[in-house]
Symmetry: D3
């Protein structure tokens, strides 16, 4: 993929006006409060994975509307005392995967809570449905337009709330030091990490990679890939819903949510990322509410971003804030 | 697309053993009965389309679980006496469209009830959600695997029931002669026409084109296109669910349902149809329960089948059975 | 498709200098006059379609060089008195289709003359050849470069003349009120509607959607799709014919012809239209000769433009000018 | 491309029944005779190419209907006495190219007549139109369906006749020994070489590579590529013309024409050729009328066949029959 | 991908005659002996990865010709006594990756030696060149045809020897119990696991997934994907080298090498695998020299095979043979 | 392909700062000197091609490191006295082809030396390996990244040296007038022609078409095609090597080498060339060291550039400088 977005020097200064609802904070305060009121303590059940160095627990916690959300907690084998924790969210189409997979953060010494995305799980195994009739408010395959006619029924209201409450759940796990919980994720997982950082101020660090769901209006204009493409096709079919849809999306725009966040943040970006174009990543980065933030730039990369090279940098960032 | 399925002479004799549950009839009897018990009379509201020769009414009738299903009733302008009716179902991704569209059967003198597919409507406009928490039992984009873990939660249980009850609704419309109601549709609409013919014996004729949802096991083996591909990808990801899934699908297999139908039938098939391979169409045709049946063969066509050339033949078939 | 052309605010002001031959008006005056002198009254023959609300007639009228051009006249059943008429031209590759198809304007109460494009008809059925040895002056598949070496032999000289004379034919039909004839079409049909409006001043309204054949030089630079691509490939092969070809095309450029038109006009445009880029549509719109003109903008659409949502707006426009 | 046709041992024995008209010989006798009666001697004009070893002449000879057909005659520089000649026909979309191109046979010591295909010339430059109103009898881009409704108007009637008369023209050139004229070509050019060998018995050798236009009915069934695809799409659209079209094509089927040929022949075939499937090549080869024939088999090749490796073998074959 | 190879019941019995050189054993005995004679003990160097549960060592061992081959040894942190070991080879284009990646077998309690493929490393990071002038004997991008003109210069002679000697190296590591070393890998890694099992009888178990490099002649006939496609394209270009090439490949055919192996084996296969078609996998499986073998079948999978679902089964197989 | 690079008027003035090493001249002086010291006189062997007008000789000359490089010398048959010569280099993936191919320059009266590209030859036959262990320093298929970690091991150091020494070899051939040797080539061959002109001042004219390997940094930014894509993918995988790689490439940048050249030059460019974007061609052209230079512009062409139309212009240029 050739370069297609702004040059790096312009990206660094790119802090666009983004459509922002007046009641953004109120909407999310009410949303989180309402679901938090319905929450029960997380349930855990030890599972056998064949991994001798890591203990894995099947976790069920209360997400939006009190709905049960599944996650794995991977814990360094035999850990007793409180450990720092990393809560991970997943990319679009993914899930928590099978119990033996994805134990990197536990191998690095953290409690790792890897969280399902409700109603997803087609490119990686998931186990959490989206148990509400609003899930049937759908016209386009995929979740991007589920319930998009109203901010209250939109799918990402539920998923962002799940992410914020996953942090509560992680802090309540017996092996976790509640004062040392970070969030991370890539693509949609990066968008969820931003949301969790914005909506749950117990998060002490945010590592967000090539985040999705940022500056929708620009993304819809310059990305011709899915998942943004789901919304483009929806608006190409339902031509009479453009303004209404952009208004709804403004409540879920990572560039708006970033402004609500305070925790130290490590972003990463691929300068040839057509799925989550770099200007949309910088829009969130440059609106980030906290001062302690850094951007890792990968010049020749598309949506894979920093990939395997970024993990050591992320581990260093986490060590700095969690150790 | 080159020829890829059995040669025509073998297709004509192709009547394969299809996985068939013992309680097929009981399952569907109970399903239809339960929803019919919840049904209310259809509501209609006249809408303005700018079409002076056809009156269009926005119809809401009770589908599966009493859920409201939307349809348009297109009626020759000024019709008073009872007319024969054609109930039409739509292809995968479609819906009833806008009110001014698709008035062919009305122009031909029939009351035309064109029925939404719940939770669809992305390639043609629809207005009917799938209003149940079971709609959230999804891992693959699209509806093919919604709730597929159980025959009771599977999406097509709801959609087939909607189709059967659409016939009840059509018969209850003020402009319709209840003794002269036919069903039709292409692709998924063809599968729904078979289902309606099998599950509602008030149907007096079935015109089904390139029907989808027939002989799943063969279709999954030889079609590499969507929508069958949604199931293939699901089973490629959830490798442990193959037998369970094929058992569930057997309740919805058009080749099994065809055997329950008695009405006169006109099928059509494209011999190069990779979406709904001709052998799967013949599997349903050769299992059809009624004796009065015919197959229109289109030798050089893919899934578009007989297209515009088949309409006059279908109109002749309908005239023969409805006039 | 992502946005790729000028932003909307620039499009609105986009009125480029377009290569324009000095003898444009004279060329077309002579061309039309010559063919009109050869014209005979249209012949009509009633055909049976099975549509009870619409009578359809097979029309043959005299086009360029007196060549016989086929069309369908769809007439509200039983109409006697004079009705307003809509003459429709078709997109590249299409034709008048089968007799039962495409009866929307008749259903809306108009006499609808739907006109073949000579030598086309591969994506929709047609019945009109291009009966001249100049049809053999071809090197690229498709009609875009047929006879392109000379303005007198170029295919679109014949097709534009057919379009202008189709209006004469419509006005001569027994069911038509000759003072109330509009033209319409999309893509190539939109280009033909512009040409008919420019070359036949008996047209009282022009509804042109995502018109093709406008501002060739820009279209060839920024569209990488067919049918413009036919010309691009031709000039990539016949590298010595660039200037000559652009000169010939200037006689057929919708932006030049638009300047000759006076009738009220409704344009529509898709802002992501790569087949007929929005700047080329605005080039014609902003050069339109009449003052009564409006543009319907579809922001998320490619070449499908306003599609089904635009029809009601177009019907309102026609009603305003024809009723 | 993987193997997709019959295995080699079956190909070697593949001699299928091919639809064959009773009046095949009579049709062609009359066709050739009629055009030959209109023929004038070829005209030649020396052109400058910058090639010092080869003299090139622009040749115009009489083809079907006496139409002027262009060719280049490449002659070893300074040749005076009579030389053997190779008449070459070109692949679909090609033409005689520019004067400096394609001088291999002249460099090998032959007079080389390289012949335009009327109305083609889009992938290689041509200079010969198809100067008849029948050229306008077209619905599909490309020439495969031009005038296909009738054997008398079909494009290949004209092109095959041009090929047969090109041999007459070659024999009349001043530098040529009329008793030593061979024909050759690949793909469409291979089909034309077969036709020339069948229809002009002054041909003394035929070298045909991966020939097109053989055993249409099988080719349409198993090739999903163009140019056969043009016919497939035509019959997919004009579903009512299948039998009529196959009847017309039977007059032009290389497997039928091959049976009329007597000259020694060298065929070549690519066993993975999806454009001209190997079974269709063997159908012509195994029906070839002469006994002196050989097949060069290229096992891993698609439509490029033997390519550059086959030329030395072909030169040896020509030397054997022309020297 | 639809099913395209033999049905499962035929696959189970598929034990084809495969081209086999008489001196196969002698060739490999000499090859291994010669390189083993040049080998030095492996060198290891501890690296820092940030993973607290696993110690990682950078290993350099002697491969073919004594060339230095890089690998990572991942060891459960703090392990002192001898542990069983798993030697892993990688798929085509891959390498040992970065030091922190791919620590699953160590997390499961094994010493894990993950071995570079010389001259590869483009889809996953590698660090081992192919340090011989024979590496320049290349005409096709990729390694499949490097030095393919002669069995002695062929790339896979070097890579298979590296694989066999990697087992020697693993057995010499200080943390390893030399009597409990298994090999595994997928795709090319699966082919290398077969080769290592065949050429190094100190291997006590072989877990090979969707193995590449088996039954070349069939693979070249039915797979149209890379990497087999590299050979197909080579033979399409160098048409005169077919037999010579197939002879060379026979020395490296996994179906021939399998016959030399005795260790217990777990194979896995995807029934829709177009990269390594199931019949080629069964060809190796059914020729396997040992009696203790099993096949895990994944019916709806392409080349991803059993993927994440197969790992637990493989861990159970390894536990059975290594614990 | 639509236009995508700078407009023509900006291209004409485009003379960018290109990363340039201080020791560029020294690096190349030492490189050429070192290999020239190892050179032996070219060996030639007459081969039989069947071409009677051209004699062909198999030439082996000393390239980089004294490595044997193969070429064909095509000589007008029977030439005795000294003739001017054209040395031709080939596009990426090509080679000198078979002996009978590509004899255009000989047919035009020149001695034509057509030179292999070591280690290439997959789209056209070659016969020259890259006989050094540095050839194994590869991670990406293709030659673009072979040994790219160091300017001394980079593949193009060897290939550029081969090109410069090919001119020495041509001048030493018995049929050649050493004072009249030009170089030419397209794409990679165009880059090699620039390199030969820069590094061997015995070249008297350079005809370079759509040259590759110019202004790497811009090419990597705006071309998303291979072969530049090989480097893009390499840097996307080896994210830590970006600066080092761009430094190495600067020694091989045609825009830097052009500045060292003095000979008269004819460039050609396709304004829609995505493989070798026009701005990268103009970067070399506008840095060319000599004053006698011209650019042939092909406005509608992609990487095929002027193709067959450019040959006469190139022959005229050669005649002007060599006759």
């Amino acid at each position: 993929m050739a370069e297609f977005d702004l040059p790096l020097e312009q990206l660094r200064a790119y802090r666009p006006d983004v459509r922002r609802p007046d009641d953004l904070q109120a909407f999310w305060d009410a949303t989180i409060e309402e679901s938090r009121a319905l929450a029960e303590p997380p349930r855990t059940e030890r599972v056998e994975t064949g991994m001798t160095l890591v203990d894995t627990h099947d976790v069920t916690f209360s997400g939006f509307g009190g709905h049960p959300i599944r996650a794995w907690a991977h814990v360094p084998a035999g850990a007793s005392g409180p450990l720092p924790a990393v809560v991970e969210f997943h990319g679009y189409s993914g899930g928590r995967s099978l119990a033996w997979q994805n134990q990197v953060f536990a191998t690095a010494g953290y409690v790792h809570l890897t969280v399902d995305s409700r109603g997803q799980g087609w490119k990686a195994v998931g186990a959490t449905p989206d148990p509400t009739a609003d899930a049937g408010l759908s016209t386009e395959p995929g979740v991007m337009t589920k319930g998009i006619a109203d901010k209250d029924t939109y799918y990402y209201r539920r998923l962002f709330t799940d992410a914020a409450l996953a942090v509560d759940a992680a802090r309540a796990l017996p092996w976790v030091d509640a004062a040392r919980v970070a969030v991370t994720g890539a693509s949609q997982g990066g968008g969820l990490a931003i949301a969790a950082g914005a909506l749950n101020h117990d998060v002490v660090a945010v590592a967000t990679d090539v985040p999705f769901l940022c500056h929708f209006e620009r993304a819809l204009a310059i990305s011709d890939r899915d998942p943004y493409g789901e919304i483009v096709r929806h608006l190409a079919r339902y031509r009479d819903r453009v303004e209404q849809t952009l208004d709804v999306l403004s409540y879920f725009d990572g560039a708006n949510l970033a402004a609500l966040a305070q925790a130290p943040a490590l972003f990463s970006v691929g300068l040839r990322d057509q799925t989550c174009p770099p200007s949309t990543v910088y829009a969130a980065f440059n609106h980030w509410g906290g001062d302690d933030k850094e951007m890792a730039v990968y010049r020749f990369n598309d949506h894979e971003g920093g990939g395997e090279h970024h993990v050591p940098r992320k581990l260093a960032f986490l060590a700095q804030h969690l150790r």
